[in-house]
Symmetry: C2
Subunit: 181 residues, 2 copies
C-alpha cells in the first residue's frame, strides 16, 4: 500500500523504508523564566512536565512537556524509563532555560515573526474555540488575533510569556480553509 | 486520578478541566523553496503531505506534513475532511511558503540559533541512530553535530534546506541523559 500523500513538486512517491519508525517528537523553544513558562503551559494549556534535565556544566536545564489526557498514557515512574518514553512520543514541547536569563530585566528571546523571520508558531487544536478564547481571557492571556479578526476567520493567535505565537484552532471549523469561496 | 507531572515552580497541581481535549497539533516554519523542503522532508525524513492550502490574495501557501506509518492512519480522501483531520493530529509540521522567495538569490530565513535566539529546533526520534546517520550521509544531509561530537553523546543535529536545526535521537540511548554521572 502506498501511504497517502498529496503530490507536489519535490514530494517522494513513496515513504523510503529507511525512515520507518521516524517520529516528529518535539519542538524546542528557549524561555527566559521557566516558572512563568511552566505556569502558562500547565495552567493555561494543561500540559504536564514529563522530565526536567539539568546540565550544570553548561548551565542550562531542559523541560519536556506533553498534553496527557486522563488515563490515556502510562507514564513510567522511573526517571530513566520516563526519559526514554518521552523521546518516543509525538507532540512534545521542550523548553530550554539558560540559567540566569530570568534575572536580566532587558533580556528577551526572538519570536521569529518580527524580523529576522523564520519559525512562526506552535499550534494547539481545541474542541471549542469560543470556550477556549473565554478561558484565555479569564487567565489574562495576550491575544495576537481573535477569531473574528483579520482575513483568517476562526483562527486565534495568542502569546506565551516569551512572546512566542501560539495558534489555536478548532478542527471542524477549518474544513473549508484554503478552498476557493 | 491525578495526571502525571513532575512538580517544579509554576507547574499546576492538576490539569485544568477547561483544557480537556487541547492537543499540540503543529509547528510552523517558513521555508524559502517548497520544492526543496518537500523533497527533504518527504525523502530524507519520510513525511507525507496531508494538505496544501493556497491563499492567493495574501500570496502564500501552507503545506501540512505528517509521518504516516503504513496502514496506521485512515487519512480522509475528501479534502475538506482531510483538512479537519489534519488539525486533529499531533506531530504535524506546517511549512509556510511566501510566494517568490525561492527566486531571490540572497533570501534566507533565520534559524533561531544564531542571534537573535529564540526557537531552537524540531526533533525526530528514530529507531536506530547509527543507521539514520548513514541514511543522512547517503542523502547528502548537512550535520551540525554527529553522535560522537560535543558534550551530548548520542544526540545528532542535522540541517534542513533552510538551515533549521533538526535533532535526531534514539530514545533508548537517552535514559541516562541529564542524570549525574
Amino acid at each position: 500500500m502506498t501511504t497517502f500523500s498529496e503530490q507536489h513538486p519535490g514530494v517522494a512517491a513513496e515513504v523510503p523504508p529507511a525512515t520507518r519508525g521516524f517520529r516528529l517528537n518535539h519542538t524546542m523553544l528557549r524561555v527566559k523564566d521557566p516558572a512563568a513558562s511552566l505556569a502558562f503551559y500547565s495552567r493555561v494549556l494543561g500540559m504536564r512536565v514529563l522530565r526536567k534535565l539539568d546540565f550544570p556544566e553548561m548551565k542550562f536545564s531542559l523541560f519536556f512537556l506533553a498534553r496527557l489526557e486522563d488515563g490515556k498514557h502510562d507514564v513510567p515512574q522511573d526517571v530513566g524509563e520516563r526519559t526514554a518514553w518521552t523521546f518516543q512520543q509525538e507532540g512534545i514541547l521542550e523548553l530550554t532555560h539558560n540559567w540566569g536569563t530570568e534575572d536580566q530585566a532587558d533580556f528577551r528571546y526572538h519570536d521569529g515573526n518580527a524580523q529576522p523571520q523564520g519559525f512562526g508558531h506552535i499550534c494547539f487544536s481545541v474542541p471549542d474555540l469560543q470556550a477556549a478564547s473565554t478561558w484565555f481571557d479569564e487567565n489574562g492571556v495576550e491575544f495576537v488575533k481573535r477569531a473574528d479578526q483579520g482575513k483568517m476567520k476562526n483562527v486565534v493567535f495568542i502569546k506565551d510569556p516569551d512572546g512566542y505565537w501560539i495558534e489555536i484552532v478548532q478542527a471542524d471549523l477549518l474544513a473549508q480553509l484554503g478552498r476557493p469561496a
